[in-house]
Symmetry: C2
Subunit: 228 residues, 2 copies
DNA sequence: TTAAAAATATGATATTTATCAGCTTTTAGC
DNA sequence: GCTAAAAGCTGATAAATATCATATTTTTAA
């Protein structure tokens, strides 16, 4: 099994704040796992009992709303940690995580993370900073959800995806979301998302080939998303 | 000036994790302030440079959306801290805070809080736990904003207010929000909020006397908010 | 390879919500 | 107490969005 202290991925998350010794210890008790596209990492209400470090792949993190529709609240990619919040609160997960494509993840048991939280203030502080940043971001999403139209939210989401993910060899955003996934990010009916995507395509703002999405006019999308 | 180590209010927030000595030190450098109804505690983009501890009163924390409407993302009351996030991120505030009624707040300069964060792991951990809890809550709000109708959100908001705030001597929720404020919490037009409030009143779910809101049928409101 | 299932697409319609206009009531300042 | 301004209210209408229906395309699995 690969060693955490040699893993590049940890540079992208709070594990970078751990010392060599701590990494060696974590490395020895972590487990690695392949998660196939569509497989569930964890369910709402499940005790996660640890933290996932994503070595490769993408997953969607969602919550079922009262009306029975899934709302995607995060997209997690290579280098991201997953599950810190439930761990810190000592609660079952509020959210469900499903792989969007094949993933490679490492799982670090709770006790190991807790030990580092207690012993390494730098690590704790880094987690805290990340959480503060996530919280700021969440506030912004709340404002967008509350105040923007579906069209504005779609434009904003396309820009977000364009910014967050790499391009594939064709130049499309390298995350293969279904139309339903996209609708579940912006919080609308699948048909509405499809309709607006077609409209954007017709206007030359994007191009669509199956699940591939190509951003053609960033500025115009920005204008739409800000209501200009 | 009153002393932090004798202040009951700190029991309700992370300051409870500080030692007596730390409290005495904080007490000696904090400033107290009366903030009148309608006054601004801080603006979007302002360097807060510290943390507010609310001794009394309520304030609304909002963000201006691109389309020019204010979205209220938090209501802060007696015992709450305000401004930790900007402090931890070392960023200007993302949000604006305005007093809903007359407030009494203490202001603790940034350096003092940072010193405690560095020296007192219990304090840091308590802040971290609070932040994790806020983040979970924010995710839930995102789902509600994205998936619930305005009517569902109004019902949920009324229940939230009923839960969070005390009752006044008449039995109304003890926070005096304008119709516009309520609309800015649920993210809708003021007229829509007014219309739905009237509808709820007509149906006997609530009663309204000026800004006073009386919850009459909690169960029915719960049913509405969950789409039952 | 092919049939069945799932995803995508589009039109028609219903529902929800925003906007605009005008009116009444309440509040704040003199 | 009076007056202007703000807040609250209601109706009419327009715009946004959801829902339902159905057709087409793509994917999956036997």
């Amino acid at each position: 099994m690969s060693k955490c202290e040699q893993c590049i991925v940890r540079q992208f998350n709070s594990l970078k704040a751990l010392t060599k010794d701590e990494l060696v210890r974590i490395s020895s008790c972590k487990t690695s796992r392949i998660v196939k596209k569509g497989e569930v990492l964890f369910e709402e209400g499940e005790h996660i009992n640890g933290v996932f470090c994503v070595k490769d792949g993408i997953c969607k993190v969602s919550k079922m709303s009262d009306n029975g529709r899934d709302q995607i609240v995060h997209l997690i990619k290579k280098g991201d940690l997953l599950g810190e919040r439930s761990l810190i609160n000592d609660e079952v997960s509020n959210l469900k995580a499903i792989a969007v494509n094949d993933m490679q993840v490492c799982f670090i048991p709770k006790e190991e993370i807790v030990r580092d939280l207690e012993k390494n203030p730098k690590f704790t502080m880094d987690i805290l900073k990340n959480m503060a940043s996530s919280l700021k971001n969440a506030d912004n999403v709340i404002v967008d959800m509350a105040q923007k139209t579906v069209k504005q939210r779609l434009a904003a989401t396309l820009l977000y995806l364009d910014d967050k993910f790499e391009k594939d060899t064709d130049g499309a955003i390298d995350v293969s979301l279904s139309r339903e996934d996209i609708a579940n990010i912006i919080g609308t009916a699948t048909e509405s998302a499809i309709r607006l995507l077609s409209e954007f395509k017709k206007k030359g703002l994007i191009n669509l080939k199956g699940k591939q999405v190509f951003i053609l006019d960033t500025q115009k999308l920005k204008d739409i998303s800000t209501g200009f």
